[in-house]
Symmetry: C2
Subunit: 494 residues, 2 copies
């Protein structure tokens, strides 16, 4: 209203604005890029061909490998130790410990999840005029008020928690009264989400096919639209139970191999939809995994996952490289140079500031809270070789597990180290292993990617830069206290 009055009062101004609008129509401003963000579940660094797996794993991944050749392949991309923390980091641009989501995945029935107080990436992109949609796994809350349509998605369809829930019906004596099955839900912004089915074991092999179908339909619907969109595709595979769609159930392969082939084909179908819609050129495609492998075979060979961590040690949830380093491919034709690899340090929190800049809403990044996201636009576009990031901190259950600083990693507390062994450098050990309980454990993760040789005896100096990283975090807490798990708002903001 105020604007209209001002314009009426300034007749000339109005004409000028109209001319400017006409000029814009003739020479349109570069359109804001669409974004398709594909996130697979518990896939290891070594699973796909572009990262040394694929054919080597008996499961070629030609479509993902092609995507890597057409874009940027990050080889030092850091996620969080587990599903929920990684998804929280992606949505908020903040370390999940700040959001009370760095811990164990919320138990069934626990309200939990991402507080609506958080300003999600989607909410930023909506300010930039983006349509937003999600099909797949959420894992950031399971009740209305905490679901995707409460957090910046115009629409969503999928399941609120983990695919592992589908296994409950295998337990002897299980009934829905003891523990109900996970709902399949859908929702639109401004309305409560509704239960539209049950995500049970029968549906489990069909889930990613359904996610793909809905994603493809959404993309085709965007053809010709002037409005940019953000499509989030959090696939359910290869998380346990890794059951492939019957279309991909080659009996000469293991379930996990078939699942890798299915993930590749589903990725290909989404890329193909972008081509068919004429949107491939103006769409940023990101393909990554929320955390490293789970290799459990606890419920029998046929269901067990055998994700592979590539050259790294460890499994999720932990801060070993095998858990927190995953493939990450970024394609944007004509903007992100094709066929490039980079070992620069990038964190999953970095998409927040990067996408905000590319969408032109960097000024809307909130200043009333700690934001850990670093704008990596220059690295992605190839105008810089180096990351602006020098360190990453890994928290779990409120404990600082590890800090990566440049090419070093300092472990303060080690989780999930079933093999339990670390070698000690410079102590005359040849091909032997020494168990040590003295923390910190320090590794040169470039020279020793498997984190086998604890350098703590010779690397006391590293305490100084790492202490500075910690100090900066603790200073930020004084201004912006962390949300505690389940807390709606920080104390200062209550």
């Amino acid at each position: 209203m105020r604007l209209n009055i001002k314009l009426h009062a300034l007749g000339l101004g109005l004409v000028l604005l109209a001319s400017a609008a006409a000029a814009a129509a003739a020479e349109p401003q570069p359109r804001k890029p669409n974004i398709v963000f594909i996130l697979v579940d518990n896939l290891g660094y070594g699973d796909i061909g572009a990262y040394g797996g694929g054919e080597l794993r008996g499961a070629p991944t030609p479509d993902i490998d092609q995507l890597a050749r057409e874009g940027l392949r990050l080889t030092n991309f850091n996620v969080e130790p587990e599903c929920t923390p990684s998804r929280s980091a992606l949505m908020t641009g903040r370390m999940p410990v700040r959001s009370g989501l760095d811990g164990q995945v919320a138990n069934p029935g626990n309200r939990g999840g991402l507080s609506p107080w958080e300003v999600t990436l989607l909410e930023l992109l909506q300010k930039a005029g983006y349509r937003t949609a999600m099909y797949g796994k959420w894992h950031l809350g399971e009740e209305n008020g905490r679901l995707p349509n409460d957090q910046g998605f115009d629409e969503w369809w999928g399941f609120p928690k983990s695919s592992g829930d589908t296994l409950r019906e295998l337990q002897p004596g299980w009934t829905a009264e003891i523990a109900p099955q996970q709902p399949l839900m859908e929702g639109r912004a401004g309305q409560p989400s509704e239960k539209v089915g049950v995500y049970n074991l029968a549906l489990r092999p069909l889930m990613d096919g359904m996610i793909t179908e809905k994603s493809v339909a959404y993309i085709l619907d965007q053809a010709g639209s002037k409005q940019p969109f953000f499509l989030y595709v959090p696939f359910s595979l290869p998380h346990t139970p890794p059951l492939p769609n019957p279309k991909f159930a080659d009996s000469g392969k293991t379930d996990y191999q078939n699942v890798l082939r299915e993930i590749d084909a589903n990725t290909g179908a989404i890329l193909d939809a972008l081509e068919r819609a004429g949107l491939a050129d103006n769409t940023i495609v990101v393909w990554t995994s929320d955390n490293g492998p789970e290799t459990m075979q606890g419920i029998g060979v046929q269901y067990g996952a055998q994700a592979d961590s590539g050259p790294f040690r460890g499994e999720f949830p932990s801060a070993w490289e095998g858990a927190i380093r995953t493939p990450a491919i970024i394609r944007w034709p004509g903007h992100v140079p094709a066929g490039r690899s980079s070992n620069a340090l990038v964190s999953i929190v970095d998409f927040y500031a990067t996408f905000a800049r590319l969408a032109g809403v960097e000024a809307d990044i909130p200043r009333d809270r700690a934001i850990d996201s670093i704008d990596q636009t220059d690295l992605f576009l190839g105008t810089a070789d180096r990351s602006k990031r020098e360190s990453v901190m890994f928290f779990y259950d409120s404990a600082l597990l590890a800090v990566k600083w440049r090419n070093y990693k300092v472990h303060f507390q080690v989780r999930n180290t079933a093999d339990g062994t670390v070698r000690v450098a410079g102590q005359g050990v040849t091909n032997g292993y020494v168990m040590t309980l003295n923390y910190p454990w320090i590794f040169n993760i470039e020279n020793d990617p498997k984190e086998l040789w604890n350098m703590s005896g010779t690397s006391e100096w590293l305490g100084q830069p790492v202490a500075r990283v910690q100090a900066e975090y603790y200073r930020s807490l004084a201004r912006f206290p962390n949300l505690k798990p389940g807390q709606e708002k920080p104390v200062a903001a209550q």
Copy 2:
């Protein structure tokens, strides 16, 4: 003489033959390809960029990566558990257990080494008209009669044993009387090799530079020659002590990283010499490693090797994939399709029959002994997708350690498993490890490249194809007994 008489008697024939000769000069027969075989020492599958290392290891390897892009990258290339056995396999086309060389590297002073009774690849290639030369590490015998110039090399320069010998002078109390230093030698066919220096710790960092210089000079000398050549370049690096040439001693990197950079640059210098000599197009270049990593840091951080086995488990000497799977790149412009990867099963013994065929001397492969080499020409040239090989056997110290059959591996005896643990599939173990001593251990090495999940409980059926592989070997022994270590000829041939 007889030919001359016949030609004189057939005037017309002579004219026709002369015309044919003129036509041949105008359209020469395809020249036999030169071969440059670069073999690095104890480099792991994960060390170079083309196999997931390089920049990730803090040591970019652009020249080797470029070679991989221009040729075939094998991802299931199998060597032997240790240096001497792998070199024996390469030279003879026979499993080293047949040659009495499957065991511990010959001790200093032990005559040992490859028997002159063996028909080496070089002796075959000499029949095909090849010049042959070697610069670098031999490790197949250290006395005259067992040196490269006794085994089919026209000339050689280098050292007879291991670079580890250079460390003896660091031992307190060491004198040359207690254990002399290893000689540096050179030799020509038909003459005894001579000692031309000492391979001591001062020379160790310079060794690969010298090997490169001699290799480059040899290649440049071949420019314009009508005779094909085989040049064997067994580098000394990255074997312990991994000491880089001062030109590559970047103090911001570890010795091992600098050594990787040096290996890359030396490889580049050899490839560059082929270009300068105009020989690149008609030369097959092979780049591989004799066995997987040694990660000992026994004599201090600065000398320790930290080779990386990539996605595989284990270290040399053993039959874990980390020990017996190494990078292998094959370039032959216009013949081997560029930019291809293959996970087909290939063994280091296979070069023997393959090179014999490419040199046109397959008929000269001996029939009076067991030959394990399989001609892989079709696979290398891309006229076949699959290997003709279905299995590989791994012996060490006369014991059968393991058999690979298709995508399975059966371990009968495990060496060097310092971490000592294997998981048991289908037993309710989640993220836990179970120590087992029951052999065999069975792994699906595609689905489980780290050999973590012992499938023996569910894979009894695999005993049958593997038993057939063993039976074929034992049948061959009845006809062709193995040489015992130190034996000159098999009993039947004495």
